[in-house]
């Protein structure tokens, strides 16, 4: 890499960052600090918070519900990545082609991106109704004895995985489409001359060239999956029982249904720390920090 002297002219000054920085301070940093403070208190939202030291954190450490929520959140994150990445990658690369049919179909694929998650979850809840919904029909065709998808712990978890994938795959497809379109045509032309077929081209050119896109998409996916909330709230309410009570939902339930805001703050703080750590780790492990260009030698 060359270290050419930077031209100072034309770069915006730090003052331009002030509005964004203030916004971040007031709406992200300050609430986070307050939540951090509340995690050391007992607070019901009515009286004044009373300092209880590390009580909430001790409880967090030994709480079976929290352990199960963490396990479910991690499982959901891993499965989300495994499920969404291949589909989004293939769809994105396919959609990067300039054919007119592809442009049309892509426009249709991207529709779920435009709707709010709450509306989508409500829609899917109706579709999953075991007596009146679409899956009642499907169960009928397949001769299943029950269409009780949301009623079984595994079924409900699968439903959350599926609905969030259906909702977010378009976003990641869009990222991969953009990434794939950046790959210079000359690489494919050269490969074709050497006799590489479509599959070989995909693995030898497209995939390595998309490395940075994969990292970006994965970070968004992982952080998103760790903090899924609205879909679970509407679709399963953490149920049946606590079978889909993932960490963000547990935080909501503790804070705004049980009004144990001190403990909910501890859960929230733990979630922030975990999600931040995981995404930083991901950036580091994927070698993104070495900042190698995918275009070296072109």
């Amino acid at each position: 890499m060359t270290t050419a002297p930077r031209r100072r002219t034309g770069r915006p000054g730090i003052a331009w960052a002030v509005p964004g920085l203030l916004f971040f301070l007031f709406f992200a940093a300050a609430p986070m600090l307050i939540v951090g403070y509340l995690s050391f208190t007992q607070w019901d939202g009515l009286s004044n918070p009373s300092w209880t030291g590390t009580d909430n954190w001790d409880r967090l450490w030994n709480d079976d519900t929290m352990r199960q929520a963490i396990a479910l959140s991690l499982l959901l994150t891993v499965l989300t990545w495994l499920f969404q990445t291949p589909i989004a990658l293939l769809l994105g690369v396919w959609a990067a082609g300039r054919q007119r049919t592809r442009a049309l179909l892509s426009a249709i694929f991207f529709l779920p991106l435009l709707a709010s998650s709450v509306a989508l979850a409500l829609l899917w809840k109706t579709i999953f109704d075991p007596n009146l919904g679409l899956n009642a029909q499907i169960a009928d065709w397949l001769n299943l004895s029950s269409a009780d998808l949301l009623g079984s712990p595994r079924g409900a978890f699968a439903a959350v995985l599926f609905v969030t994938a259906w909702q977010f795959i378009p976003l990641h497809t869009l990222l991969y489409q953009g990434g794939a379109r950046q790959i210079p045509q000359s690489l494919y032309d050269a490969a074709a001359l050497d006799g590489a077929g479509t599959v070989r081209q995909f693995f030898a050119i497209t995939l390595p060239q998309l490395r940075n896109t994969i990292v970006t998409s994965s970070v968004l996916m992982v952080v998103g999956a760790l903090t899924y909330f609205d879909t679970v709230l509407i679709l399963t309410r953490g149920g049946p029982g606590d079978a889909t009570t993932i960490v963000p939902f547990l935080m909501y339930r503790t804070g705004f249904q049980a009004f144990d805001l001190g403990y909910a703050s501890a859960v929230a703080t733990a979630l922030v720390i975990t999600a931040t750590a995981v995404s930083l780790l991901l950036v580091r492990l994927t070698g993104f920090s070495k900042m190698r260009s995918t275009r070296e030698g072109i």
Partner: protein
């Protein structure tokens, strides 16, 4: 630059999403009335028109005006609770009595209405006593009834029952017979919206009440967790398991919802023939499936059970909703707030409730029932409530809010077969 940007982006994304839910709680209502207004918060639903009408009427004559704030249903509890802990607290607000206000009572945040009701017997006697008592906390009154009664009723499909040659069950043996008859006809005997555990709770409430009487839950609600170990509780849990195993609720009920009309539609289409539900189910069917409501919809009291010591006339459900006054309201504003509450004991208010399809909670409303859209249903419901020896508030409203999520989880697991009756009883003791 790019790494740092990405790191910041990742960190910000994580933090922002995680903290929004907790931080967004401070959403402000209108600022505290102060001066010469009172802010009154009400749960927004089909009955809010009555509040609009009476607030307007009140404002015509009063120097202190009421500012009515309607909060959409789903968020009411969160918003009200959060606001009560802030300077934007309402002066008068809608609630369910019992556990929904217990924490406020503990913090001395509500006006104790007991001395006022003692001084004004005509106000106290205006309401059906069990209704007034059901909202009390530790035997003291903090609320004046302001909505219709909402007992849980056994709705059934008259036409399907007639075709099968059965009557609505009066005893538990009848109930088991009805279940067998409809299972043989490949019909779901009873619709339950298992995705909304409060609908399953209704079965538990009646089973326990009929078997062991209203005292058991009364002890629990007053903080005696050992009452969960009463044999009647175990019988209740065993009975639920038997019902589920027999297929009483069908094999799909765990993902049926009530809030999106899943259960009511299935019931109206004849898929299931009984539906244990709050009295609002009638109005719901009337607006969603008017033909079914007119032709097929029948109603009955919950049957007796074997060796039951509970009164067969006892009720469970939501007796009504109440107005409570914030204890920071004083002087003239308090007088005005009390005047507003007194309006709800007047016959005009009862008439307005009836015109809206509700059954009032006032003791002398009987003569007004004939003007109800369905006098037959109105009379059934009114008599049921007026004659009930006790009216137990729904457990999830009566217990402190901290216990409701675990209560719902346990119920869902019991019905879902993820928890045995034995474990259920143990889990309830630890609630």
């Amino acid at each position: 630059m790019r790494i740092r940007t990405l790191r910041l982006l990742a960190a910000t994304a994580a933090c922002a999403v995680a903290t929004t839910t907790l931080a967004a709680c401070g959403s402000g209502g209108p600022s505290r009335g102060g001066g010469d207004t009172l802010s009154v918060w009400v749960y927004q639903d089909g009955s809010t028109v009555i509040q609009e009408e009476f607030v307007e009427k009140f404002n015509e004559t009063s120097d202190i005006k009421i500012d009515l704030v309607q909060i959409p249903g789903d968020n009411y509890t969160d918003r009200m609770r959060t606001a009560m802990g802030s300077p934007n607290a309402p002066d008068v607000f809608f609630n369910w009595g019992g556990g929904s206000i217990a924490d406020f009572v503990e913090q001395d945040m509500l006006v104790d209405l007991t001395p006022i009701l003692d001084e004004e017997p005509e106000l106290k006697d205006a309401f059906i006593p069990t209704i007034l008592d059901a909202g009390a906390v530790d035997g003291r009154y903090y609320g004046i009834p302001m909505r219709g009664v909402q007992p849980v009723i056994l709705f059934y499909n008259k036409t399907a029952f007639a075709e099968a040659g059965v009557e609505p069950p009066a005893t538990w043996d009848d109930m088991l017979h009805v279940i067998d008859v409809f299972l043989d006809r490949d019909t779901v005997p009873a619709v339950v919206a298992g995705a909304d555990p409060w609908t399953e709770l209704m079965w538990l409430e009646y089973l326990l009440d009929r078997r062991g009487g209203a005292e058991i839950f009364d002890r629990i609600r007053n903080g005696d967790a050992s009452a969960w170990s009463d044999p009647a509780v175990r019988w209740m849990a065993d009975t639920v398991k038997e019902l589920v195993d027999a297929g009483t609720f069908g094999n799909n009920f765990r993902s049926v919802n009530y809030t999106a009309d899943g259960a009511s539609t299935f019931f109206a289409q004849g898929g299931g023939v009984m539906h244990l539900m709050g009295s609002w189910e009638y109005a719901n069917q009337l607006s969603q499936q008017p033909e079914f409501a007119a032709e097929d919809l029948g109603w009955a009291a919950f049957p007796t059970v074997p060796d039951g010591t509970g009164d067969p006339g006892a009720l469970v459900g939501n007796p009504t909703n109440y107005w409570s006054i914030n204890s920071e309201v004083e002087g003239e504003r308090l007088d005005a707030a009390l005047d507003f509450l007194r309006m709800h004991a007047e016959p005009e208010y009862a008439q307005a409730l009836i015109d809206n399809g509700d059954i009032p909670t006032t003791a002398n409303a009987e003569s007004l029932l004939d003007s109800h859209a369905s006098p037959e249903f109105a009379r059934f419901q009114y008599d049921m409530v007026a004659e009930a020896p006790s009216f137990t508030l729904s457990w999830d409203q009566a217990l402190p809010p901290g216990k409701a999520p675990a209560l719902h989880d346990n119920i869902e697991k019991l019905f879902g077969g993820q928890m045995s009756p034995e474990d259920f009883v143990a889990a309830m003791q630890d609630l």
